[in-house]
Each structure stands twice: as C-alpha cells, then as structure tokens.
Subunit: 200 residues, 2 copies
Amino acid sequence: MPAIPPSKPTRRPRADGERNRLLLIDAAKRIFAEKGAAASLEQVAREAKVSIASLYRHFPTRDDVISAVYRQEVDALIGAVDSLAATHDPEAALRAWLMLFVNFLDAKHGMAEAMNTLIGGPEDLYSKTPDRLVLPITALVGRAVEAGVCQPDVEPLDLLRALSGVATIRVTENWKSSAVRMVELLVAGMSTRTTGRDTR
Amino acid sequence: MPAIPPSKPTRRPRADGERNRLLLIDAAKRIFAEKGAAASLEQVAREAKVSIASLYRHFPTRDDVISAVYRQEVDALIGAVDSLAATHDPEAALRAWLMLFVNFLDAKHGMAEAMNTLIGGPEDLYSKTPDRLVLPITALVGRAVEAGVCQPDVEPLDLLRALSGVATIRVTENWKSSAVRMVELLVAGMSTRTTGRDTR
DNA sequence: TTGTTAAACGTAGGGTGTCTACGTTAATCT
DNA sequence: AGATTAACGTAGACACCCTACGTTTAACAA
C-alpha cells in the first residue's frame, strides 16, 4: 500500500528565502504603483536586489506576483464587510463598500489593471485562482436582495468590473469623482425594479 | 503675401503602399480578434506578409493600428445614432445604442481592450486622438437629459468604460447576458433621481 | 521606351523583456 | 564540523519593439 512518504523532516524554511520573498513583494508594490501591473518583472527584481530567477522561483507567474502584492488590500476589503454589515442597512452597506473599493483603486495606481487578474475568473467557484473578492461582494448583494432593495439578477462581480473599467483609465485627476458617481449610478440602478418585463 | 508653395506635383499614391496598408489592417483584424489588442505587431506583419518596418511606416504607433482596425466598427456605431434618435424616445435610443455597443464588443474579441485606447482620453475635446465615440454617446445622453429622463451629472463616456470593464473579461460564454444586464442597470440608474429632489 | 525621382520596401541589429538550464552557495540539521 | 538540499545567481535562448540604412520599384516626364 502507498504508505505515507516516510521521511518528513519538515525543515524550517530558509531565512534568506523568506527575506527575498518580502523584498520582492515590497519592490513590486512600488513598481506596480508607478508603472502599472504590466511593469517589467526584471525591473522588480532589480529593485529588490534579487536575481530574476529568484523572482520566478517565488512567483512562477505574473499573476502570482499581483496576488501577493494586493493580498493585504484585498484582506482589508474582505474584513470591512462584517463591520459595514453590522452598522449599515443593506443598501448603505453595499454603497459604502463599493466606495471603499473605489478608494483602493485610487490608492494603488496599478490596482485597476491588476483587478482583471483578480476578478477575471468565472463568477462561480470554479475559478482556478480563489477569487477572494467574490465572497464579500456576493454577500453584500445577497443581503440587499434578501432585504428586497435590489434586483436578484445582477451579477455581483460585474459591479466591480464596471468600476474597474472606469478606473483603468485615469488620465484626469478627477477620475475619482467619476467613480463615485458610477457607484451611485449602480446602486440606484440596482434598487430600481426596472420594468419587470421591460418593453414587453 | 505668402504664395502657395510653388511645386505641388501631387503624385498619385503608390499602389503597393495602399495595398500593403490594407493587407496590414486585414491581418491585424484577424490577429487582434484572436489574441487581443496587445498581440505582437511582428506577428501581424508576418500574417500580412509584409516587413515589420513597413508596418511601422504605415502605423507609427500601436494605437494607430488599433484605430485603423476598428474604424469601420466605430463608424457604424456613429452612424446608428441618427436612425435610433429618429425612431426611439431618448431613453430607448440610449438603451438601444448601448446594446449595439455591447454587440460590437461581442463581435470583436479584442475590441474591449482596444476601447481603452479609443475612449481612454480625457472626456473633453482636448483628447489628442479624436475620440470619435465621444460624440454619439454624448449626444444620446444629452438628449435624454433634455427630456428629463436621466440625471445630468453622469459622465457619458463612463457608461462605455463600465461596459468595457464587464466585457474585457470574458471567460464564460454567457458574458454577453451579463453585459446586457449591465446596460439595463445603467439605464435604470440614470433614470433615477438618486439624491436630489427625488421622484420629480 | 527609357530615364529620373523619390516613395516604399526589406534586411539587419541594438535594446529590453520573458522564462529556463545549470552549476554554485549557504542555511539548516545531525 | 560535515552532510544535505533549498535557494541562489549567471548566462543564454527566444520573442518583441523600434530604427538605421541601403535597395527596389511605382509614378511620371521626355
């Protein structure tokens, strides 16, 4: 029988490996913020003073780098759901959380592009990368639907995708007010029973 | 007075130049549809059986290629505005045109990404590339505002950007129904007086 | 037809980026 | 201290972007 692999020494991870990993994430955060998520990975490695091979060893694909860079931000967004849900009614909570999302898009320049890889997967659970943003937005929309303040046929992730679309292009300084208006527009649209069976 | 520059032979454009230009556009259309608007320009040149230098001679920047490729499509969208405005009320015309926009996004795979360069400029007239899509969408929204069926503070281009955001990621086959729902959501949101003097 | 002109062409190459192969270094554990 | 092997960096194959430069050839004139 296939016994458990006998030797399982479980050596402690090497210190230099962990150190370089953090250096790389930190460098990528800076480079992505400056040049966007399509920036050169070689440049990231140079900034971290680590060889390009080490970068690929830690993060086999570009998406892995992106996920690592924005993990903190995504965690914060996820964490905010509970407190918002506790202190706001469903519609207000949804609006507030979308505003938070816009703020994150604003804080990190490269984030809007990066979102494509974070929310790009299919909307269901089959996504190969665990779309951790699916949970909060789905929960908030679900709560609003239960409360009867929004239509049930809206794909939650599409709200984020729409905001990303507005945020991807940010030639002007006032892009954020555009994004805020878009949040209001989306929330207003969701709370409207458009026409039921429209035009028919 | 500054006389007209004396020598103005105005030679007829060379046939091979025009031919290659068309070959390049045709090839780019195929490659972009398959690989997206970020595809290799060298591959486009190979597909067109033209040297890479000739590609750059005809289209100095990638955006020039994109503009040329989607010129027909954009023209069709622009042309549709008049007939829609003549046959539909303002809100229905806007909705119908946005649906048309979604259809174009559906027909050409690379178009959603390409939109970033076509509608990426600032929303005013200072855009360096003539954002020809600004005119139709602005006209349609303006008409709806005049008719009092939508709020005046929505940035027209943002509607297209939001739809592009939804369309950029199309892992599933049913992305189009998501886009259609998004159109309904946007139209519904616009027709709502969210915060101001509501219901009036 | 033949010659002139210059528009358009293709080859070649420098620079940058992606990703991998492979020999070397050094952190961990005995 | 010595053994083990995780992690490292150098180097290189390959693709792409973009330009310099010499060559070809379409358009026009004689």
